[in-house]
Amino acid sequence: MIEEKKKISEHALYGAFWRNNNFAGNYNFERLMALGMTQVMIPIFRSLGYTGEKLKKGYERHLVFYNTHPYFGSLIMGVMVAMEEAKANDESITPSAINDVKVAMMGPFAGIGDSFFWGTIHPIIFAIAANLALEENFLGVIISLLIGVIAVLGTYYPFFWGYRAGVGVVEQIRSSEILDKFVLGAKVVGMTVAGVMVASLINISTPLVLFQTEAEGSGVVLQDLLDSILPKALPLALLFGVFFLLKKKVSPIVVMLILIVLTVLFTTLGWI
C-alpha cells in the first residue's frame, strides 16, 4: 500500500501567513516570540490532521524561546512550516533538528533585518516624511504609510520563499551571496543617508562671540569661525560624542538624560 504524501493545503498556508502578523502577540521576558511561532503552526497542524499526542508534541516543540526580526523572521516561519510538512511525511526528522534550524537562523536573520529594515529603510522614509511634516505638508503622512507597505511585502515574500525553499534556504543564501550583496548595499545607502541626515537634521549652532570688546563689530563670531573650518562641525562633534558614549556601553537612556541636561544648561547660559 502506498501512503499518500501529506501536503499542507493552500488555505492553511495563508492561515499561517496571517497569524505570522501576531509574532509578538505574547512578546514576553521568558520566551519572547514563542507563542507567536506556535500560533503560526495552528492551521498547519490542523491541515496535517494532527490530533492527540501528536498535536501536543507539536505545540510543545514550538513553545520554546524564539526571537528574531519581525519582517525578515517570517522567512524562518516559512522554513518551519516546510519542516513540519516534511516531518509529517518522514518521522526521522526530530524535534531537536527543527529547533536547531530555528536557533541557527534567528540570530543572523535578526541582524540582517535590523540593519536593513530598522537601520536603513525606516530612517530614510522617516527623514523624508519628517521634513515634509515639519513644513506642515500632508504628504508626510502619505510617505509614512510606506512603512506599512514594507511591512506587508517584507513578510509576504520571505514567508513564501521560506516555505518553498525549506531548509535549503540557508544553503541558497550562502551560495548565491545575494543576501550579502543586498545587505552590504543597504549599509552603504544607510551610511550615506545617515551622513546627510547628521548634517541636515541635527540642529545645533552657537551665538557665542569671542574676544568681544566695547567697540562695535569687534570679536570673533565663533559660528563663522567654525563654518570656515568645516560647516556643520558642531552636529558632527555632537554625533561622535554620543557614538563614543554608546560604544562605551553607556545606556541610551543615560545618554538621553545627559543630552537633555546639557541642552538646558547651555541654552540657559546662551552658548547654543
Binding site: 502577540g25 530614510i124 515639519l134 500632508f138 544607510g190 546627510v196 538621553m256 541642552t263
Partner: protein, 274 residues
C-alpha cells in the same frame, strides 16, 4: 473632554479592534481560512505597523480629529526626528514616543500650550510608555505559562485566541493611556507646564534639535563598520557643503552602493581572481 478622548482612542489604535481583531476572531472561531481574510488582516497589520513606527501618523490623525492637522504634522515631524534610529534591538525595549506624539499634539490643540512646551513632555512620556511595555512583557510571562497548559490540553482555539488577543493587548497598551491622558490628563499637564519656568521649557524645547544625535548614534552602532564609514563622510560632506536633502541623499547612496557592490563582487573581481 470625553468625546475628544474617544476620538483619540480610535486614532491611537482603537480602530484596529474593529478592523483587525474582529476579523481575526471570526476566522479563528469559524476555523475557516481564506486568502481574502489573510490579506485583509495582513494589510491591517501593515497600517498598524506604519502608525506604530512612524509617529507622524498618530500625531497627524490626532490633529485631524481635534481640528488642527497642521499642529499634528509639526509635532509628529519633530518627534519623528528626535527618535529616528531608536528601535528595538534584540529584546531591549527603548523609550517609545508613540503616546507622547498623541498627547503632546492634544495638549497644544486643547490648551494654550505652545509646541515647544509640549515637546518638553515627550521624553518623560516616552519613558513612561517604555515602562508600560516592560510591564506588559512581564504580564505576558504569565500568559505563556497558560499557553503551556492549553497546549497540553490540545486547546487549539484557546491558543489561537490567546496570542491574537495578546496582539490586541499591545494596541490597548497605547490606546487606553491615550484615552485616559486626553480625558483626565490635559488640564493637569497644562497646569504643570504653566509652572515650569521659561528657561527650562525653552531648554527642553531645544532638545528637539539635539536628540536626533542619539538616534543617529544608535543607528550607526548597528550599521557602521570600517568598510562603510567612508560613505558616512561622503554623505555628510555632500549635505554640509551642498545642502542636499534626504531624497537626494538616498539617490546618492543607491548610486554609491551599486558601484561599490559591483566593484567588490562583480565581473572585475572575478576577472582578477582568474
Amino acid at each position: 473632554m470625553w468625546k475628544e478622548a474617544f476620538y483619540v482612542f480610535l486614532v491611537a489604535g482603537g480602530w484596529s479592534l474593529f478592523l483587525k481583531t474582529i476579523p481575526e476572531v471570526i476566522v479563528i472561531l469559524s476555523k475557516k481560512e481564506s486568502k481574502f481574510a489573510a490579506w485583509w488582516i495582513t494589510i491591517m497589520r501593515g497600517l498598524n505597523d506604519a502608525a506604530n513606527y512612524a509617529y507622524i501618523i498618530p500625531a497627524a490623525l490626532t490633529g485631524l480629529v481635534l481640528g488642527d492637522l497642521r499642529t499634528g504634522l509639526f509635532i509628529g515631524g519633530t518627534i519623528q526626528l528626535m527618535f529616528l534610529g531608536v528601535f528595538i534591538v534584540g529584546a531591549s525595549i527603548p523609550p517609545n514616543p508613540f503616546l507622547a506624539a498623541i498627547l503632546s499634539t492634544a495638549l497644544v490643540i486643547l490648551t494654550d500650550a505652545n509646541a515647544g512646551e509640549a515637546i518638553a513632555l515627550v521624553v518623560p512620556l516616552s519613558i513612561a510608555a517604555q515602562l508600560l511595555t516592560l510591564g506588559f512583557m512581564s504580564l505576558n510571562v504569565f500568559f505563556v505559562h497558560w499557553a503551556d497548559r492549553m497546549a497540553a490540553n490540545e486547546n487549539t482555539v484557546g491558543l489561537d485566541l490567546l496570542n491574537t488577543l495578546g496582539g490586541t493587548g499591545w494596541i490597548l497598551v497605547n490606546a487606553i493611556p491615550a484615552f485616559l491622558g486626553v480625558a483626565l490628563g490635559i488640564e493637569p499637564a497644562a497646569r504643570l507646564l504653566s509652572i515650569i519656568p521659561d528657561w527650562l521649557s525653552a531648554g527642553l524645547g531645544a532638545t528637539g534639535g539635539i536628540l536626533p544625535a542619539l538616534g543617529f548614534g544608535m543607528l550607526l552602532l548597528i550599521i557602521a563598520s570600517n568598510e562603510v564609514w567612508p560613505f558616512f563622510f561622503i554623505g555628510f560632506l555632500a549635505a554640509a557643503y551642498m545642502n542636499i536633502n534626504a531624497v537626494a541623499g538616498a539617490i546618492l547612496g543607491v548610486c554609491l552602493a551599486l558601484v561599490y557592490v559591483r566593484l567588490k563582487t562583480g565581473p572585475f573581481k572575478k576577472a582578477e581572481q582568474q
